[in-house]
């Protein structure tokens, strides 16, 4: 028996090979969770696992392409066989690109839709089946984005995909509650957080960091750990009455237009 706010919970984190996923996995493990971190890059997955074991946490890496339906079946089978349940799913894996709309080929839009939306659909559907049958239910956390609420320049495909995640999560929450009132579905809207996803598209200069740090009310650079703390809250039993919400962690960037 471990202690902590997520003691002994089986927590699946997709895209645990870098960025927000890795930070969330580490924080959750620090709260006593048993992590199943997934992704395509086994080397980076092993790195996440060793970062967690070094600090006394429990984790394993499971190879998965989140857009592949069969990979979800295999993952669920693995978790239910090895642990007998899934308590938390963090649908974190996702993609991003910036490109002028008129230069964006249909294939790129469709690629982003698969990686950001179909993956969340597949993951939520798979977890819901397991969690609805568990007396303790479960918590599904879908990574949306500030970009699901505001229009970002040259990121129309990304903005559309994240708005879809937010709205999908609300509807799934209503449906999940009807199946088992202890199954919750929420989404998180990170503002700009400095991860490989951002530096990969915009570059990693000091200048750029300062630009992003100024682009929110708090004038603060968003860190993966900020998102990880919110993931822990939504994963833990303390948020058991919270479902269907879209929680913004964005330094107040969205405070002036937000409705609910």
């Amino acid at each position: 028996m471990s202690t902590g706010r997520l003691a002994d919970k089986i927590c699946v984190v997709t895209g645990a090979t870098s960025g927000l996923g890795r930070a969330a996995a580490r924080r959750m493990a620090g709260e006593g969770a048993i992590i199943v971190g997934t992704g395509r890059n086994a080397e980076q997955g092993a790195r996440t696992v060793s970062l967690i074991s070094e600090t006394g946490g429990q984790a394993e890496f499971w190879r998965q392409d989140v857009t592949a339906e069969t990979d979800w079946q295999a993952l669920v089978e693995h978790c239910t066989t090895r642990y007998g349940r899934i308590d938390v799913l963090v649908n974190n894996a996702g993609g991003f690109f910036v490109r002028p709309l008129e230069e964006t080929p249909l294939e790129d839009f469709q690629w982003l839709w698969r990686v950001n939306v179909e993956s969340v659909f597949l993951g939520t559907r798979a977890a819901l089946q397991v969690m609805a049958a568990q007396a303790e239910g479960g918590s599904i956390i879908n990574m949306s984005s500030l970009a699901g609420q505001v229009g970002l320049d040259q990121a129309s495909a990304y903005c559309a995909s994240k708005a879809a995640v937010t709205q999908f999560s609300r509807a799934a929450a209503v449906e999940a509650a009807a199946l088992n009132a202890r199954v919750r579905v929420n989404s998180l809207n990170p503002g700009v957080i400095l991860t490989e996803m951002i530096t990969g598209s915009y570059g990693d200069s000091e200048e750029l960091q300062q630009y992003f740090a100024k682009d929110n009310a708090l004038k603060m650079m968003g860190l993966p750990e900020h998102i990880a703390d919110a993931v822990v809250y939504l994963a833990a039993d303390e948020s058991r009455h919270v479902t269907g919400i879209a929680l913004s962690v964005d330094g107040g960037r969205g405070a002036d237009f937000r409705d609910k």
Partner: protein, 260 residues
């Protein structure tokens, strides 16, 4: 606090309006359990307030305090400074709820609800901010609005309006504090129907209390009413440094009410 580990709000001083009952009372308990250095239980209900402060011990301070009286706020802040030396967190939980459609509501009723629920929160934010920004290096204000502040209903016209005022004021304060560079975040929680003395009053007034309770539960996708501990957990999260990148948000704790 879990055996010897640092609490989540270690060392913070917290002022809770409506601290004698319901959501306020459970917030006071949660803050003390997570290491707060001091909690002010401010309320007009002296019987409940003194009993609670006595139960909670040395770190709790009882203050007879009417949130609608500007002079009470002017007196309260020096009293907090004298007792604890600083203020980090304000929780505006005091409030009242009375039913009225637009046709039933008298002007007096409208003004009464806005005086307590909106004016009281305005005064609290104004006076506490002055002390928090001067004495805290990680301050937070959490306003207790309601689902009615986001998604109103026909029979709570004045109440819903007063709670919408709180939600919008919250964002304005968040933006102001950020613009001024104050280390103060400001967020709102939006409880659904929560089983507190406030709800008990509705149940007692109903012809069939059980049917009324069922009716309250039935409008939430989770088909249940919430517990004050569940709202207190959200307030604690927003007050803690875990929410360092969160300001100007509305966090529903409502069993899915705002999603459906």
């Amino acid at each position: 606090m879990t055996g010897g580990v640092m609490g989540r709000v270690e060392g913070k001083v917290v002022f809770v309006t409506g601290g004698a009952s319901g959501i306020g009372e459970h917030s006071a308990r949660a803050f003390l359990a997570e290491g707060a250095a001091g909690v002010v239980i401010a309320d007009i209900d002296a019987a409940r307030g003194t009993a609670l402060a006595a139960e909670l011990g040395d770190r709790a301070m009882w203050l007879r305090h009417d949130i609608t009286a500007e002079a009470d706020w002017q007196d309260a802040m020096p009293a907090v400074r004298e007792r604890f030396g600083k203020l980090d967190v304000l929780v505006n939980s005091a409030g009242i709820s009375l039913p009225s459609s637009i046709e039933e509501a008298t002007y007096e009723h409208w003004r009464h609800l806005h005086r307590v629920n909106a004016d009281g929160v305005f005064l609290g934010c104004k006076y506490a901010l002055a002390l928090i920004r001067e004495t805290s290096d990680a301050g937070a204000i959490i306003n207790v609005s309601s689902t009615m502040g986001l998604r109103p209903t026909s029979y709570l016209a004045a109440y819903s309006s007063s709670k919408a005022a709180v939600a919008n004021l919250t964002r304005s304060i968040a933006l102001h504090c950020a613009e001024q560079g104050y280390p103060v975040r400001c967020n709102a929680v939006h409880p659904g129907a929560i089983r507190t003395p406030m709800m008990e009053a509705y149940l007692a007034a109903a012809e069939d209390p059980d049917a009324q309770l069922q009716a309250f539960a039935a409008v939430h996708p989770m088909q249940r009413v919430g517990r004050p501990e569940e709202v207190a957990a959200a307030i604690l999260f927003l007050a803690s440094d875990e929410a360092a990148f969160i300001t100007g948000v509305s966090l529903p704790v409502d069993g899915g009410y705002c999603a459906a």
